[in-house]
């Protein structure tokens, strides 16, 4: 039995390593599936054991692809769920110690606990019960459903933000933004300018999809972003990940678009599901970047050049939180300064690194 579970874990690890499974959404769903299996099929009796189990799986997965932040986010979400379930189960038992009444109100990170007892020891005592296990699994299934409905929730906010005769600018190809714009197009008439996003040319694909949906789309080369920005009403971006300070890890070219928008005082809106929100901070701008095959920048046809020059092809860009005005998530719209709250609600501070 345990062999099967390990196989599953290794299978996912291999997929991540070989980059066969990429994309926040796909990765999140795969991770969740795996965790459901791991939790339901393993034996554990205390919270600590369960947490350790999940953390060990998480460590393996993250090491397989460290820049795929969605994996870590899901693991942390699940850990948070586990801890919460335990706390609730614990609070159901009556408790006369006076400091406990504070526990449900405050998280373990509260200043209050400076002078209170640490709550870590309590997890040990609660025995697992079947209801606890099924509760946890249920919660995880809820997360899964939430993941599947991300686009639904986000795109329903579209008519609030896009109005008639607006000119929207975007870059790269994001399914979330695509759905968002298509939903808005069903109710409003507007134009979209898409930067073609060399060298991946995802922007071109995006433009094609949008035009198929009947939205008036114009493809511009990346060099024209600043030039046409003065006529744009809004910039809508997708992103690969959102960091804890509100910064984005988004496709290469997003930084220049956001900076140009800021210069012209144009609002920048980021459409993202909360599963992309990571509690990690960008220690520097390249912490979560990957570089891709330079062939698409300077191909082998230029053989004589290649040996003399260095070619760089970063896939992602870091966009500082000063450039972002609004996050549209499946839980509504938030300014970048509110993200810490979402992080506190969904993750635990102990889970920054999965030290066992």
């Amino acid at each position: 039995m345990s062999l099967n579970k390990n196989e599953l874990v290794d299978d996912l690890v291999a997929k991540l390593k070989r980059r066969q499974l990429v994309g926040s959404s796909a990765v999140s769903q795969a991770t969740l599936k795996l965790l459901v299996v791991v939790i339901s099929k393993n034996n554990w009796s205390t919270a600590n054991q369960l947490l350790t189990l999940v953390k060990s799986v998480g460590q393996k997965l993250i090491q397989a692809n460290p820049t795929e932040l969605a994996v870590g986010n899901i693991i942390r979400r699940v850990l948070h769920v586990i801890r919460e379930e335990y706390r609730e189960a614990e609070n159901d038992k009556t408790n006369t110690e006076f400091h406990h009444h504070a526990a449900p109100l405050t998280t373990s990170s509260s200043m209050y606990n400076l002078l209170g007892e640490s709550g870590a020891a309590q997890e040990e005592q609660v025995q697992f019960s079947h209801s606890l296990r099924s509760n946890i699994i249920q919660e995880i299934r809820d997360i899964k459903i939430e993941l599947e409905n991300i686009h639904e929730n986000i795109k329903n906010q579209a008519p609030l933000h896009i109005h008639s005769n607006e000119i929207i600018m975007t870059i790269g190809r994001s399914k979330t933004v695509e759905e968002f714009l298509k939903m808005a197009a069903s109710k409003r008439k507007f134009q979209v300018l898409v930067a073609e996003t060399a060298p991946s040319y995802h922007g071109q694909e995006m433009a094609l999809e949008l035009s198929k949906a009947g939205i008036e789309t114009t493809v511009i080369p990346d060099s024209a972003v600043f030039a046409v920005m003065s006529r744009v009403n809004k910039v809508i971006l997708g992103t690969h990940a959102v960091l804890a300070n509100g910064g984005l890890v988004a496709i290469s070219g997003s930084h220049m678009m956001a900076a140009a928008a800021k210069h012209h005082s144009i609002p920048v809106v980021v459409c993202t599901g909360l599963y992309k929100l990571s509690p990690l901070y960008p220690y520097d701008e390249d912490s979560f970047n990957v570089t891709m095959n330079p062939d698409s920048v300077l191909g082998f046809e230029e053989g004589d050049l290649i040996e003399k020059v260095t070619v760089t092809n970063p896939y992602y860009d870091y966009v500082s939180p000063d450039f972002v005005n609004l996050f549209i998530t499946n839980q509504g719209g938030h300014p970048p300064s509110y993200l810490y709250r979402l992080i506190v609600e969904n993750y635990d501070p102990d889970d920054q690194t999965f030290d066992l």
């Binding site: 499974l21 990429v22 994309g23 796909a26 005769n165 399914k175 134009q191 300018l193 996003t197 060399a198 060298p199 991946s200 040319y201 995802h202 071109q204 694909e205 433009a207 094609l208 035009s211 198929k212 008036e216 789309t217 114009t218 493809v219 511009i220 080369p221 990346d222 060099s223 024209a224 972003v225 600043f226 030039a227 046409v228 003065s230 006529r231 290469s252 070219g253 220049m256 900076a259 140009a260 970047n289 990957v290 891709m292 095959n293 062939d295 698409s296 920048v297 300077l298 191909g299 046809e301 050049l305 003399k308 020059v309 260095t310 070619v311 760089t312 092809n313 896939y315 860009d317 966009v319």
Partner: protein
């Protein structure tokens, strides 16, 4: 070649005017529009050079009001283009062809009495001349047309302009066998009958035919009358003539009545037409993309100039300095080979001789500021020395051209290089964008001097001009890095200087340069990295411009399609962060290869942009290092001196 179509040797000014210019372009525009008649490809068709300038003009009217030279130009016959507010974006106006106004009067007088002007008294020629003249007139008709229709068509804030020109004429009358766009000569079968008509009648007929053709194109029918009739004959063709409305009161004549009678074009039809024509509303005031062709070159242009024009249109010569030098050299040859016609002197006729060349160059690519300033200087010198005997004048002009190139370009570049060397130190990481000849010179000189620095070359689609610079630097042994513009946020952190070239510096201190320069300057400014611009003073312009829309150049949108031709066979790379990738991306044709058929998809290939002055730290010119806000000072103080 049809002997009837022998062109005049020296075409009077008024015949070569703006109206001619769109037509060759329009013939090529047709190929980008969903018109079945894309008989002409974009490639310069030398066979069509046999045909005169009027190639694509099936007819022209003559009896209509005199051309007013201030009319905005670039009306596309196909009706695809709209004109715009009476802003002088016409390059002819700016760069000294504005004496067309007086010219047209002059030309009228010239046309009849002087056979020395090269007008064979052949009636065919006259007719040809009239045709040209008529075409010119067409422009003036059109512009009031446009403003009227634009008022009506103003439904969307996107500035949908009214329909194009003279489609006012009722499209109802189908005229026989009208010449198609480009490639064919003007009137064929109808020509014989025209002999018997009076001048005025001929003009009317031509104008009518032209208008009908325009209307056909506007309705989406093939331009040729025969084919249009075929299409219409088919049931369910879905075509209905939709001429422009309310051209009405703006011009007198027969056409006006027809126009009034014509049905109004509804907004949706305008929109449909705009979509059909792939015109970008935001840039409707600019000229449509131009394509290399010799259709507008009649055989009396000096071949050197035609050559240069073609090379510019194909971007084989690009860059402000290169274009200017090439143009001036070509003019030099033209002046050298010039034979003064009888009854005039060289100095007095020179401008007239040069103007068609200039117009032709503009049809190939909109005039660069550098070229324009050089031409203006040349004309100034010509105008100053009207009393010189012929050979002296010729020698003077040649000398002036040589001096200009030597002083304002070559020597200026050397001074700039020496001044710029002071700003490059050991250990510098210099970032530059696309390819500027001055920047290349400076970097090579710095390397030759032994300064140890490395260069990051930023490049962008669709022209990839930076590769040339990269090649030059790498061959010289400079340590280089190459990235695309989207990676600018990533590489900028290592950079400690940015050096850029310029197409022009404007009087409000803004930098007008290759599209993408503004992005680079903005990213550098964000990190407090100094931005150095290298610009010779002859590129300074007294224009002021606030954003990149006021004046710009739109390039061939097909260059953006990411197919074999454009991208050396790279199809878009496999998506890194998604499992699915659209099937079309794997196609060798590129994702957007079907863009013309797609109703809602447009491509915009913008060639220049405007960098605000606050992003530029210093401008190095041959008169020293100046802040970019001092451009008008230089223009005021220095240029008169330099010009002597």
């Amino acid at each position: 070649m049809d002997p009837k179509k022998k062109t005049v040797g020296f075409v009077p000014e008024h015949d070569i005017n703006t109206s001619d210019l769109p037509s060759p372009g329009s013939s090529n525009n047709n190929s980008t529009i969903n018109s079945p008649v894309s008989a002409l490809s974009n490639t310069p068709d030398l066979s069509s050079a046999n045909t005169p300038l009027l190639a694509s003009n099936p007819g022209s009217s003559a009896s209509t009001p005199p051309a007013s030279s201030t009319q905005p130009r670039s009306i596309n016959k196909s009706g695809a283009r709209s004109s715009y507010e009476p802003m002088k974006s016409s390059y002819e106006e700016q760069w000294g062809l504005a004496d067309r106004a007086s010219g047209s009067q002059k030309a009228h007088k010239m046309a009849s009495p002087r056979d020395g002007s090269g007008f064979p008294k052949d009636q065919q020629q006259q007719q040809a001349g009239k045709q040209k003249e008529g075409k010119g007139k067409r422009v003036s008709i059109s512009s009031p047309v446009i403003s009227a229709t634009s008022k009506d068509a103003k439904s969307s804030g996107l500035g949908i302009q009214g329909s194009g020109p003279a489609s006012a004429e009722a499209s109802g009358s189908s005229s026989p066998a009208q010449a198609g766009p480009g490639g064919k000569g003007p009137q064929k079968p109808s020509a014989p009958s025209q002999k018997s008509m009076t001048k005025a009648e001929r003009r009317e007929l031509q104008e009518k035919q032209k208008a009908e053709k325009a209307a056909r194109l506007q309705a989406g029918l093939p331009a040729s009358g025969k084919k249009a009739a075929q299409v219409l004959a088919q049931p369910n063709s879905g075509f209905s003539p939709n001429p422009t409305k309310s051209l009405a009161s703006s011009f007198p004549g027969v056409e006006a009545e027809k126009a009034i009678a014509a049905a109004a074009e509804s907004t949706s039809q305008i929109k449909k037409r705009e979509k059909l024509t792939k015109e970008i509303g935001l840039f409707a005031h600019l000229d449509p993309p131009k394509f290399a062709n010799t259709a507008s070159a009649h055989k009396d242009l000096h071949p050197a100039v035609v050559n240069v024009g073609l090379q510019m249109a194909q971007f084989k010569i690009c860059g402000a300095n290169a274009r200017c030098v090439a143009t001036m050299s070509a003019f030099r040859k033209a002046i050298q080979d010039y034979q003064t016609p009888p009854n005039t002197t060289l100095s007095r006729h020179m401008q007239t001789y040069l103007n068609p060349h200039i117009s032709y160059l503009v049809t190939c690519r909109p005039m660069a500021v550098s070229m324009g300033n050089a031409i203006r200087y040349l004309k100034y010198e010509i105008g100053n020395n009207l009393e010189l005997p012929d050979e002296d004048a010729r020698a003077l002009y040649l000398e002036k051209i040589d001096n200009f190139i030597r002083d304002r370009i070559t020597m200026a570049d050397q001074v700039i290089t020496s001044l710029g060397l002071n700003k490059i130190q050991d250990g510098d990481v210099i970032l530059t964008y696309a390819r500027s000849s001055v920047v290349q010179g400076l970097l090579l000189a710095a390397h030759a001097k032994g300064i140890k620095f490395r260069v990051i070359v930023v490049d962008s689609r669709p022209r990839f001009e930076g590769k040339q610079l990269l090649r030059a630097l790498a061959s010289a042994g400079v340590s280089c890095t190459y990235v695309l513009l989207t990676a600018i946020g990533h590489v900028m952190r290592e950079v400690n200087k940015v050096i850029l070239g310029a197409h022009s510096l404007l009087s409000n201190g803004a930098l007008y340069s290759r599209a993408g320069t503004a992005v680079v300057a903005m990213s550098a400014h964000e990190r407090k990295i100094p931005v150095i611009v290298l610009c010779e003073t002859y590129k300074f312009s007294d224009r002021v411009q606030l954003d990149s829309f006021v004046q710009n150049e739109i390039g061939n949108p097909d260059e953006l399609v990411n197919d074999q031709n454009n991208n050396f066979g790279h199809s878009s790379s496999r998506r890194y962060d998604s499992v699915t990738s659209s099937a079309s991306s794997a196609a060798a044709g590129g994702v957007l290869s079907g863009w013309k058929e797609s109703r809602d998809l447009k491509l915009l290939n913008l060639l220049y942009d405007l960098t605000p002055s606050e992003f530029v730290t210093v401008v190095i010119t041959e008169v020293g290092l100046i802040p970019c806000t001092s451009v008008p000072v230089i223009l005021r103080e220095y240029l008169p001196m330099i010009q002597q």
